[in-house]
């Protein structure tokens, strides 16, 4: 166990109900934004749960991944408001610029493209999130601009 992961575990009480929060925290420390088999075992042992219970929970929630993902996760809202406002042209632009399909990661490991249900920023549809930041009123040009900005920042 790395020192970093040990520090994370110690922030949580050893109570099964913190499982989701703990998994979020473990996933965040991994630059590839996913939960390793090691992480699942750590969580199970620390909280005194069977490994199957932890896997069971992880597989239910869409925000946890058991496969490596990119450093930045792009989530495009596919809800009706964004759909009506042209979310599909945004997805097409992302696919074209990044050269990947939805659910895939760019070869340089920088971006993973995902779809998400409503992000609750419908007044500025279409909307996407890049990690924790929301971007609204998207057009194909703005998408290119945003990607350039993130690439520039590293």
């Amino acid at each position: 166990m790395t020192v970093e992961k040990k520090a994370i575990l110690q922030k949580f009480p050893r109570s099964p109900d913190v499982l989701l929060s703990l998994l979020h925290a473990l996933q965040r420390t991994n630059p590839q934004n996913y939960l390793t088999q090691e992480d699942l075992k750590l969580a199970a042992e620390y909280l005194g749960l069977p490994l199957s219970r932890v896997r069971d929970a992880v597989s239910f929630y869409t925000m946890f991944s058991l496969k490596p993902r990119g450093r930045h996760i792009i989530r495009v809202c596919e809800s009706p408001n964004c759909h009506l406002a042209g979310a599909w042209s945004v997805v097409e632009e992302l696919k074209k610029t990044l050269g990947i399909e939805v659910g895939q990661t760019t070869p340089d490991g920088l971006f993973t493209l995902e779809l998400t249900s409503c992000l609750g920023a419908c007044g500025v549809a279409p909307v996407m999130m890049v990690d924790d930041e929301v971007f609204g009123n998207l057009t194909p040009e703005r998408v290119r601009e945003i990607l350039r900005g993130i690439r520039g920042a590293g």
Binding site: L20, F60, C122, G123, V134
Partner: protein, 596 residues
Amino acid sequence: MKRLFLLLCSGSACQSSGALAVKQALVEAITEQGLTEEVQIVETGCMGPCELGPILLVYPDGVYYVRLKPADVREIVTEHFLKGRPVRRLLWTAPAPEPRTIPFFARQMKIVLGNCGQIDPEKIEEYIAVGGYEALARVLTEMTPEEVIAEITRSGLRGRGGAGFPTGKKWQAVREARGNPKYVICNADEGDPGAFMDRAILEGDPHSVLEGMAIAAYAVGAEKGYIYVRAEYPLAVKRLEVAIAQARKMGLLGPRIFETDFSFDIELRMGAGAFVCGEETALIASIEGKRGEPRPRPPYPATFGLFGKPTLINNVETFANVRHIILRGADWFANIGTETSKGTKVFALAGQVKNTGLVEVPMGITLRELIFGVGGGVPEGRRFKAVQIGGPSGGCLPESLLDVPIDYESLKKYGAIMGSGGVIVLDDTSCMVNVAKFFLEFTADESCGKCVPCRVGLRLMLSILERIARGEGTEEDLQQLEDIGHMIQSTALCGLGQTAPNPVLSTLRYFREEYLAHIQEKACPAGVCPALIHYEIQGELCRACDLCRRACPTGAVQGTPRNPPYSIIQDRCIRCGACLEACPFGAVVKIPGRKG
């Protein structure tokens, strides 16, 4: 001395359109002009008209600057803040002594959203300055738990999360339930597509939710509360964390609040992307660290909830109403609204409507007032077609029902529901079969799979709708959609499944002829379903510029430059519309129905 107060909307929507860059530009320009002592910048929660963001409200002038760009800021600072001349081209409306006279605001009644956009949500002092935690103080020092419940019951407040269960009755049930400890949960797992009022309240006035929860905890006899919030709302999570920490520091959460025997503390729990967790039993399972699957009720959470203990679950907007009822009295609250639906409701206006954003109106106003009065109607040149209200559990109502009052019972009677308050306005460019299909795709996707009617039934309905959209439907399909829909409504395990057929059933009820056009004429009247439209080039308008031919991804456009007209080979056309977008002369037209 501060002379000017700048309220900069920092809700998620405004942040997404660049509010933080505007703030930085403001700080720089104000410093440059040496106005730092005279101008105060306050970052607030959502002001409502999201499509105008970033928004800056300037007091005491009472003017709104809208759609701000960092490049505009220097001019505002030198012209307005320094010389006193508002920059008219950047204003929303002409300067008015009272911003609330703007039509968008004039017809609203802001109670729950009263503080949103007016105070800095990250400063508890600002909340206290406008009467925050006064209701909690009054409850703890002057009222018994029974009196609190009686007051809430008398106010007529009903749950704002969707189902509209009487809040006082729920509190009473938890108070009477046997078992210790008891818990209070705030359902902040807002997931209905098109609804974002809970997010705005959490981001703009988080303390009002904490105060409502504390009052509820006192009434039902709980000492611990949880807020279950979506992980998709990082800003709401951050502001709640700040608010909880500040309330604890001031002794407004924690042991012996206001030096009484009442202790109460709140923990935050984050979801992980599962719509069904908004259902209360699924939400409880998720807080317990399990798969978020619902279970049959009864037993209700009031008697068997979190960790098997009596639990009160209310939604964000419900809790945010509580302090106002305590401070201004049940009678005041009960005077607003209709016979069975009291108070106000926050709606999220979106779709083909001029003013999108968050609005709060008294219960009982008509859909027409909401969409055309507050919302400003559909944009020029378009025609109103339907309003989708209540999200994936709701329904589509046609123009003939625009004068229906908005209350729990009326909406239900006509096949929609209040839901959490998402309102999507649809104009004549929307296909109702496509809209119904869209919502069904969502619920079929989010079905947790535990019960058969929802898991299998929704898939069946979806496959029928897909068939109709492809032009392969039959009239019997419509009967079958209704039969399966009614069966799911009456047999699914939880609210997700029971209400999921509503978008299909309501469009079948009010827009049946549009389904029939797809089936009999093999035509999509709105020109949306790709299998049931075709494109043609109008020879007399074509200038043979070749743009359409170059835009076509399948080589379906034929012609020679400077030798009009061009034409489309229908067998090769995939109806993507690229030629129509490319044509600068309007020669390409989309026509409902297949060619021939």
